[in-house]
């Protein structure tokens, strides 16, 4: 059966079982591949997207529960030609190494900044602790979140 989902402002019909995790709806149903599979058990944050503006793990949201919500993925916050301020900060600090976790890191940090425009290091730690990076980009993530906060403040 088909479900209507709204991703990055566009509503599309997806013909996948209702219990399919949103992660796989995005990746294999809609071919929006910026959102990554890392663990499937909400332990790494690589699949972080926004559901009505709040950061969630897409591997834990069933397709049928995403109907009617506004879903935003990494592709929805900015493009290579038109970066979101947080992406510009990531670029400025050259944060990514392998890059596989970075969509999730950026979406988590964007959600933090939407709630708290000037987070302290402790608040960044608190918000970002669920997003694993095996390359060890954490020092630059911290710096980029501060820069993004400054950019967004204007």
């Amino acid at each position: 059966m088909a479900f209507d989902v709204t991703v990055n402002g566009e509503t599309k019909a997806v013909d996948m079982p209702g219990d399919t995790p949103l992660l796989w709806v995005l990746r294999d149903g809609l071919h929006l591949t910026g959102t990554k599979y890392g663990c499937g058990v909400a332990a790494c944050g690589a699949c972080t997207v926004h559901l009505d503006g709040v950061a969630v793990r897409a591997c834990q949201i069933a397709l049928e529960d995403a109907v009617g919500a506004q879903i935003t993925t990494i592709e929805g916050i900015g493009t290579p030609e038109n970066l979101a301020p947080i992406q510009a900060a990531w670029l400025e600090h050259q944060v990514a190494q392998c890059g596989f976790c970075q969509s999730g890191q950026i979406m988590q940090a964007a959600s933090l900044l939407a709630e708290n425009p000037a987070p302290t290091d402790a608040e960044i730690d608190e918000a970002m602790g669920g997003n694993l990076c095996r390359c060890g980009t954490y020092p630059r993530i911290r710096a980029a979140v501060h820069t993004a906060a400054a950019k967004m403040k204007g």
Partner: protein
């Protein structure tokens, strides 16, 4: 003569790079040029100029280490390209892109030994590397291999373009300059390279192009924006699983968690009936489920009842530890690479002695093992992030029977490698599935659980160390190091057997630049058990912990400051400088109240690296409050990338030191996913200051050397804070971390 005898006795150690192909030595094929795989459209195998602009071929895998950026910069520098004119691709799997430096670690000379003999031996290793057509990424070898080769390729391309411009204009080549991707005529007008490419293809290429002196570098030596960064911050970078073809099917594999053993029987009826499942395919050691989405494949695979054969190795961690400990016997001696002075005579009866143990480790790359394949009309296309594309060609030929000419191998960016993607298992599975599903593109993705339990693990290792101090220095130290052979295990998986000792068993211990008068390192080979593989920094990952913990224990025994203690017994200048650099950066000796610091040093892959770690006790547990690292890379091509690699290497080492452990029961790895095999998280990560030095006489790669000192620096800091000497990793089993 003494020297020659020493070498004969040592024999050549073949390092982990030999995983790539048959060891056939000879010079005949070496003299023959290897054909340019991009002809006729490319001037050299590294530079492609067409209607789309200038594309530089960076034939090393991008695992996150930034190597493609630096390789491109080497070419662009000599071609006088502006950085924003540069586009990079990995290039096809081809013997033209052989990696000569990958074998250099196998020579029986410490990296600090720059004698004629040592250099000659290193040079000789380039012959087998070329013969093997080793297109490998690993061993921190990409930059040393590429430094001259890529610059020369850029200079050759530039010379050909200038020659074409000279023929076109009737001017002399010496009157022409180059800048910003164009030839500049004496009157200031320019001809873009793109307009000269066609003619340049027929230029006579100079055999020995002259290279720019370092003082004229515009790109090299600077922190450049990485070519892969924009894609990685926008979700548009194309990883293996992001490639889509019409009609693509999605697969996952389940093979025996008793690694290497077969599948006795199975019942897949329920899985086959699961909506969306296309087929169940038998693959070596198990099954693959092919479905209309990855999730469907994952779910259906859970419905299969498997009856596995028993694992062909010890069933439990305890038995594995017993086997490792049993290897300390003369019949298991693998190498004695260092035997300075007379250790037996110099060790007193009341000698200090300790035993250290480290566990098996998984690589746990963020992207699980993933490969795509498509067999159609007699052609096979394989796309898979991997560190050995030429080996993929061989495996694909063996499975499909196709000629190499009919196989295309693409190497997308990888979600981490750390040595795991030098393995062929997941790629072979994808090719088997593609063969069964001929005509359909398939993408095979491992679940995290399959990935964690089917790794090629960093081996368990035990060290037995004895030492003595006299007059504030180490008078004698004896390091006995037992581990399974990574090289034997890797070579076995590609049907080879490598004679001789395995350098990785003693790597990070035997070649250290300490001047202890009586200094012996003996490697003991544990008989092959569960499969093991290269794990970031390979043998140095365990041996630096052993060696540097022991040096620290002896420093305390001698009553000497651990950093001073090291400095007083190292005379290799670049090594001294990295220790001095972390002492200065950390303001060593003035630790804030309630905190303590540990220091460690390791020379690995030719790079001297020192680290200082600072810890404090908090109500939530031990916290790492600060960290300092210094490395000497000889010539620093891109400081920002080097800093990132050193920070990342340290975080990788700290993750393993604090919590990394794979245990076995019934022959199966017990850890399944990140909740039971976690890495360091952002709140646990201290600020990491990195000092980059350039005192070494050779350029070095830095993907690995940041890892080895992390565990001992942390363990030494814990001792300094608490008086607790932890000799078994992970440290988190003995002490609580915040």
């Amino acid at each position: 003569m003494g020297r020659i005898r020493t070498i004969a006795r040592r024999t050549f150690l073949i390092g982990s790079a030999t995983i790539a192909g048959g060891v056939v030595f000879g010079t005949y094929a070496y003299k023959k040029p290897i054909p340019n795989p991009l002809k006729p459209s490319a001037i050299t195998p590294y530079v492609l100029i067409d209607g789309n602009g200038i594309t530089l071929i960076a034939p090393r895998a991008e695992m996150g280490q930034g190597v493609q950026t630096t390789l491109a910069a080497l070419l662009a520098e000599e071609m006088d390209l502006d950085w924003d004119q540069v586009r990079v691709m990995h290039g096809p799997a081809s013997r033209a892109y052989f990696n000569a430096a990958a074998l250099e670690e196998g020579v029986p000379f410490a990296p600090t030994d720059e004698s004629w003999l040592a250099e000659t031996a290193r040079g000789a290793m380039h012959i087998p590397a070329k013969f093997l057509g080793l297109q490998a990424t690993g061993g921190s070898s990409s930059i040393p291999d590429a430094f001259d080769k890529m610059r020369a390729a850029g200079a050759v391309a530039r010379a050909a373009l200038v020659d074409a411009a000279a023929r076109k204009t009737g001017l002399k080549a010496t009157e022409l300059k180059t800048a910003s991707g164009a030839v500049v005529l004496p009157d200031g007008s320019t001809i873009p390279y793109a307009d000269l490419a066609h003619d340049a293809a027929s230029s006579d290429l100079p055999k020995t192009p002259s290279l720019k002196p370092q003082s004229e570098w515009k790109l090299l030596g600077k922190s450049l924006p990485r070519t892969d960064m924009l894609g990685k911050v926008t979700g548009t970078a194309t990883f293996t699983a992001d490639i889509r073809f019409p009609g693509m099917l999605f697969a996952t594999a389940r093979t025996n968690p008793g690694l290497g053993a077969g599948l006795k029987s199975y019942d897949a009826a329920e899985a086959l009936a699961f909506p969306g499942v296309e087929r169940i395919v038998e693959i070596p050691g198990g099954l693959a489920v092919v479905a209309n989405s990855t999730w469907t494949a994952f779910k259906a695979a859970d419905l299969i009842a498997f009856d596995w054969d028993a694992a062909p190795y010890a069933a439990t961690t305890e038995e594995m530890r017993t086997q490792t400990a049993a290897a300390f016997s003369p019949d298991h001696q693998d190498s004695r690479q260092r035997d300075d002075g007379d250790v037996e005579a110099a060790l007193p009866a009341d000698v200090w002695a300790a035993e250290y143990t480290v566990p098996y480790l998984a690589h746990a790359t963020m992207e699980t093992m993933t490969a795509g394949a498509w067999l159609q009309d007699g052609r096979l296309r394989v796309w898979a992030g991997n560190q050995l594309p030429t080996q993929v060609l061989k495996e694909a030929t063996a499975i499909t029977g196709l000629d190499e000419a009919n196989i295309d191998v693409e190497t997308p960016v990888m979600g981490g490698g750390f040595g795991r993607r030098a393995e062929m298992d997941f790629i072979k599975q994808a090719i088997h599935v593609a063969k069964a599903m001929e005509g359909r593109p398939i993408l095979l993705t491992w679940t995290r659980e399959e990935d964690m339990t089917h790794d090629t693990f960093r081996p368990m290792a035990i060290a037995r160390i004895k030492g003595a101090v006299k007059g504030g220095k180490i008078s004698a130290i004896d390091l006995q190091l037992a581990a399974a052979s990574v090289v034997e295990s890797q070579a076995g998986r590609i049907g080879m057997s490598i004679p001789g000792p395995d350098a990785t068993i003693v790597q990070g211990a035997w070649e250290q630049p300490y001047t202890f008068p009586n200094y012996r390192t003996t490697g003991y080979r544990v008989p092959e058990g569960v499969q093991v593989g290269s794990w970031r920094s390979v043998g140095a990952s365990q041996n630096a912990f052993f060696h540097e913990s022991a040096v620290d224990e002896l420093a305390h025994l001698a009553g000497v400051d651990p950093l001073e203690f090291r400095l007083s017994q190292i005379d290799h200048i670049p090594s001294r400088k990295v220790l001095e650099a972390v002492a200065t950066a950390s303001n060593w000796g003035s630790t804030p109240p309630n905190r303590a610091r540990g220091v460690a040093f390791c020379l690995s892959f030719g790079v001297p690296a020192a680290q200082v770690i600072e810890v404090e006790n908090t109500p939530a547990g031990l916290r790492i409050t600060n960290a300092w690292a210094a490395v000497d890379v000889g010539i620093a091509l891109d400081p920002s990338i080097i800093e990132a690699q050193v920070q990342g290497g340290m975080v990788y080492g700290l993750s393993a030191a604090i919590s990394g452990e794979i245990t076995f029961a019934g022959g199966h790895a017990q850890q399944q996913n990140f909740p039971d095999y976690d890495g360091l998280r952002l709140p646990q990560c201290p600020p990491i200051s990195v000092t980059i030095l350039q005192n070494g006489s050779k350029i070095r790669g830095v993907g690995e050397p940041g890892t080895p000192p992390a565990a001992p620096a942390l363990a030494n800091a814990i001792f300094a804070l608490t008086g607790q000497r932890i000799r078994t990793l992970p440290l988190g089993k003995a002490i609580g971390f915040a």
